[in-house]
Amino acid sequence: MSSASSVKAVDVAVLPEAPAAATPAKPDVRAAGKPYFPRVNAFIDGTIRLLSLIGLGFLKPVVAIFRGEDPRAHMRQLWLDLGAPVLAMAAFLLVWSQVSQGIQTSLGQIPGPTAVWEQTKALWADHQVQREKAVAFYERQEKRNAEKLAEDPAADMTVRKYTGKPTYIDQIFTSLKTVFAGFLLATLLAVPIGILCGVSKTFNAMFNPLIQLFKPVSPLAWLPIVTMIVSAAYVSANPMFDKSFINSAITVTLCSLWPTVINTAVGVGSIDRDLLNVARVLRLSKTTQLTKLVFPSSLPYIFTGMRLSLGVGWMVLIAAEMLAQNPGLGKFVWDEFQNGSSESLSRIMVAVFTIGIIGFLLDRVMLTLQSAFTYGPTR
């Protein structure tokens, strides 16, 4: 199966939300203009597909309205896709700013939207300041090293990394790096295990008790054990990764393993019997069956599992960072809580929204990958 054909196959399936019943039922007069600009129309169609693939599906009705395709049905779609969510968001902001004024904590008022926005800007400004400091740091170091070199040509000239604090932006990237490392490891472990469980009844019987035993364990219970084992086992004079990074990543792995394992097993197990029969008739080898039949047809399930895994991993990572004091957004929240300054609550709110938005984006990315790699009605 070529990649082009797979994309083509997706095209049909990607637009299930389209008011399919409305468009063909009422052939609009102006829609007949379509054939006059075949290239343009094809381009627009392609763009729409791409947009809905990356989660901007609400632009579709806009384009459709401009092209004059059944405005009423599309207006309704636009309302559902864009109007209603925006209205709800506005209502949420209003309620939030009203309620927050009434609650007095020992750290001052609960911050409203404006206070949070102020702190978002402050965190960004702080990031810029730190970057400037880093530049100054490297300049000083260069000068010092040059002096050292002049004094003693054999001196050690290693360039030391900036020693200042990680900014908010740095913390975001640390968390993202950690969650992807943990998630990748989890996927590499979970998919083969899941396929084995789905293919072989014996394997399933062997793994099932273990999965059932470990699945409900809160990963935070693992954290102390992981920390101890990593401290003992990961000894290196010049380590490639920080211990704290490995601790967090492994904790993410341990908890995001299970949804992928289970979904993969179910996906492999529920493969269409007819397909297997065909394979038998064609006398396909076991490997070919696995790569050409079993794996592709269970991809939708695997991706669903991975999506769940990444969501769980992201949630757990923040908790693990808070508990283990590992760098990242969780540590930022904890440090701000400890600071107890009059700005702390607003900063924590910024972090809450950042975590939410990133979690949403991660989900979108997985959804996009899922749509891009799978086809057919089971999605």
């Binding site: 020992s106 750290l107 000083r140 170091q141 010092r144 003693d152 054999a154 001196a155 050690d156 290693t158 030391r160 990394k161 020693t163 200042g164 604090k165 401290s231 211990k243 704290s244 004091q325 904890w334 440090d335 701000e336 809580f337 400890q338 600071n339 107890g340 300054s341 009059s342 702390s344 900063r347």
Partner: protein, 455 residues
């Protein structure tokens, strides 16, 4: 022949390189140091911000830690190269109270800086019985006997009276216990079977990390706490409690935090250790320089989120020579935070021994020990030799005045009576000192099934 010459040249060069390494620069340049969000971490922040670490060729990253247990464990495992520690931590680790490990210190970070705060509810009960001055404000120091009405009230209503300190071997724990015992209130004994230290206690004392103190007090989980700044001043600003006494009034100029590293680190990186202490000493000088003129700037630096992070006005309250006991009751207390004066940085054996006597007094050291044991333990952990070496280099580099250091000291401060109960302490006679104290284990006394036995 040629190869042999080549080899010997290489050997000589190698030896020369090593000699340079041993004689000059630090062995380890990139370091990570831990701290707890307290104003007395100031020497670390100042040494970083003023470039003193870099002047010594050190590239230091400062990292806040969750609590004292985490800081000690991470220093022991090597995740941190060194840290801001409670004076009792290296001693406790060496004796084996909690985690056993060889941790040493060559630098005492500050004197004083702690206080005891009680909840508004307890303060209301205490206030009635207090002596007042002509302005109608309570007279300080307030003795622990003032707590008795509150204790009675709690007893009648069947509620336990709970207080918090920051760590079992913390200065705060011993100061709180000293204050309570001086007022005739038993703070409870530790024993091998009771590591919470609540045997026979009138007040149940437990551990809470410093930055969480005000929140825990506000939640009503505890009724008072003993902690460093800014968490006592924070209680006033948040309106959740009232500081009643500072440690300066319990023991004038008591040693507080130390800079701790593992013995392995100190042995392997002697130049780095000295370089670190040089930078920290310069920071301490800066903090106490010009009669505290730099303190405002220090408070500004500490109020940044990456250091202490509390509001500037809260930090400045105690850092700039004042202390606010009740709301609006701000009094001058110029020696509340001492970073350099009174030989604050010299790691005196006698300071170490005082902490050991308190560990013995409250049963953390379960058996009686001879005087020589106290001295030997102190000498194992406290390293004035490293401090003196660092100070001498600073004097030679004209970064410090020789007059500010006591190079002739034998490591013992002169005997002092500057305690709230006036009992004299002489570091050379620990057992005789323990005998003189009102409450506590003496001689060979032990805790057995909840009772003090032996003599």
């Amino acid at each position: 022949m040629r190869t042999r010459i080549g080899a010997s040249v290489i050997c000589a060069l190698f030896a020369f390189g090593q000699a340079i390494a041993a004689g000059k620069g630090p062995e380890k340049e990139q370091l990570k140091l831990g701290f707890i969000k307290l104003t007395d971490m100031a020497p670390l922040a100042i040494a970083y911000e003023k470039g003193y670490f870099e002047d010594e060729g050190l590239y230091v990253t400062l990292e806040p830690q969750a609590n004292w247990k985490v800081i000690l464990d991470r220093v022991i495992t090597g995740e941190l190269d060194g840290a801001h520690m409670l004076a009792g931590q290296p001693l406790g680790a060496s004796v084996g109270i909690g985690t056993k490990a060889d941790v040493v210190t060559g630098f005492s970070m500050d004197l004083n800086g702690n206080a005891i705060t009680v909840s508004n509810e307890v303060w209301a009960l205490m206030k009635a019985g207090l002596a007042v001055d002509e302005k109608g404000l309570p007279k300080h120091p307030i003795p622990a006997t003032a707590l008795k009405p509150a204790l009675e009230k709690f007893k009648v209503s069947g509620k336990p009276f709970k207080m918090a300190m920051v760590f079992p071997v913390s200065t705060h724990n011993y100061e709180l216990r000293y204050w309570l015992a001086a007022g005739g209130i038993n703070p409870g004994f530790y024993s091998p079977s009771d590591v919470t230290g609540q045997t026979r206690a009138d007040i149940l004392i437990s551990v809470t990390p410093p930055p969480q103190m005000p929140a825990t007090l506000e939640a009503g989980t505890i009724h008072g706490y003993s902690v460093g700044e800014p968490w006592n001043q924070q209680a006033i600003f948040k309106g959740v409690g009232v500081p009643v006494i500072t440690d300066y009034e319990i023991w004038k100029n008591n040693p507080e935090k130390v800079f701790g590293v593992t013995k392995a680190f100190a042995d392997k990186n002697p130049r780095t250790h000295i370089a670190l202490i040089k930078a920290l000493t310069r920071a301490a000088i800066w903090l106490d320089d010009k009669n505290g003129a730099n303190r405002k700037e220090a408070a500004q630096i500490l109020s940044r989120p990456e250091y202490v992070g509390a509001d500037y006005r809260v930090i400045a309250n105690s850092m700039t020579g004042t202390f606010e006991y009740g709301r609006g009751d701000k009094r001058a207390l110029p020696d509340f935070n001492v970073f350099f004066r009174y030989h604050a940085n010299y790691p005196f054996y006698s300071d170490a021994i005082w902490y050991l006597t308190q560990m013995r007094r409250w049963g953390q050291i379960p058996d009686g020990k001879p005087d020589a044991w106290y001295v030997d333990t102190a000498k194992k952990v406290y390293r004035p030799d490293v401090f003196v070496e660092a100070a001498k280099e600073l004097v030679a580099e004209k970064k410090a005045n020789a007059a500010d250091f006591d190079f002739m000291s034998d490591g013992f401060r002169a005997p002092t009576k500057d305690f709230i109960d006036g009992v004299e302490y002489d570091g050379r006679k620990p057992n005789a000192y323990i005998e003189k104290l009102a409450l506590g284990l003496k001689g060979q006394q032990k805790i057995e099934s909840g009772n003090v036995v032996g003599k």
